[in-house]
């Protein structure tokens, strides 16, 4: 029996999350984090945002952004604690908590977006 390691799959999720978050997050943080609150630009109206999130294609993109970014975080967080802070004895606990959080967060994202469809 070949033992299947989850590491390649987790790395793929990490990598995909890195690309998606890299592509979409800088502009989203700039808009929703600074430009809209500081009044540099007018925030989109509620109806507009509601309509955008109700679009299935946009919903899938937003869901992918949330889910993959969370797995990206989980993978990096786990490895940084392991290599950076050398917390090795808690490796399993940290892995379960990180990937578990990513899984839970993805479910929350799916539920929230589903309600808007």
């Amino acid at each position: 029996m070949i033992k299947r390691h989850p590491e390649p799959l987790l790395w793929m999720l990490f990598s995909a999350g890195g690309v998606v978050s890299g592509m979409l997050m800088p502009v989203l943080v700039l808009l929703f984090g600074l430009a809209f609150p500081l009044g540099w630009l007018n925030a989109p109206s509620h109806e507009r945002l509601r309509a955008l999130l109700g679009n299935p294609v946009i919903a899938i993109v937003v869901f992918s952004l949330c889910a993959l970014s969370l797995f990206h975080w989980a993978h990096r967080f786990r490895h940084t604690l392991y290599d950076g802070l050398q917390i090795k004895h808690l490796n399993e606990v940290i892995a379960v908590v990180s990937y578990g959080t990513a899984l839970g967060g993805s479910a929350v994202a799916a539920y929230l977006l589903w309600r808007l469809l």
């Binding site: 999350g17 979409l24 997050m25 007018n42 994202a109």
Partner: protein, 138 residues
Amino acid sequence: MGDGHVDAAYHPRWLRPHVSTYWWLQKPSYLVFILREASCMFVAWFVLYLLWLIRAVAGGAPAYRQFLDWSATPWVLLLNAVTVVFVAFHAVTFFQAAPQAMVLHVGGRRVPTHLVLAGHYAAWVAASAVVCWLLTGA
């Protein structure tokens, strides 16, 4: 992983020199590495922020208004200002590493690394433009 194993009197692991927990403070390049790794915390924060926003939009116009007011409070603004920097740093470092991780072949030839890099940056600009247009365009 298997930390409880002690089968040999002279385990190779025991010959490893001790590395300080704060090794990443010893060189600027190490610090850049750890800051790059730390960017994931800001990625996670923004997912949380985004989920909050989606929930507010689902809650109706008053809830959305409330979210916008909350997003303009000093601590949230400060956190998001730092997040912009880290998320941009994450994007640049991640795209920079992409040509090494993604070896593309077209017609039996390897696509030059600078083209892979340029492709990522072009996609980044395009994606940002589309998001801007969707959210603020007429």
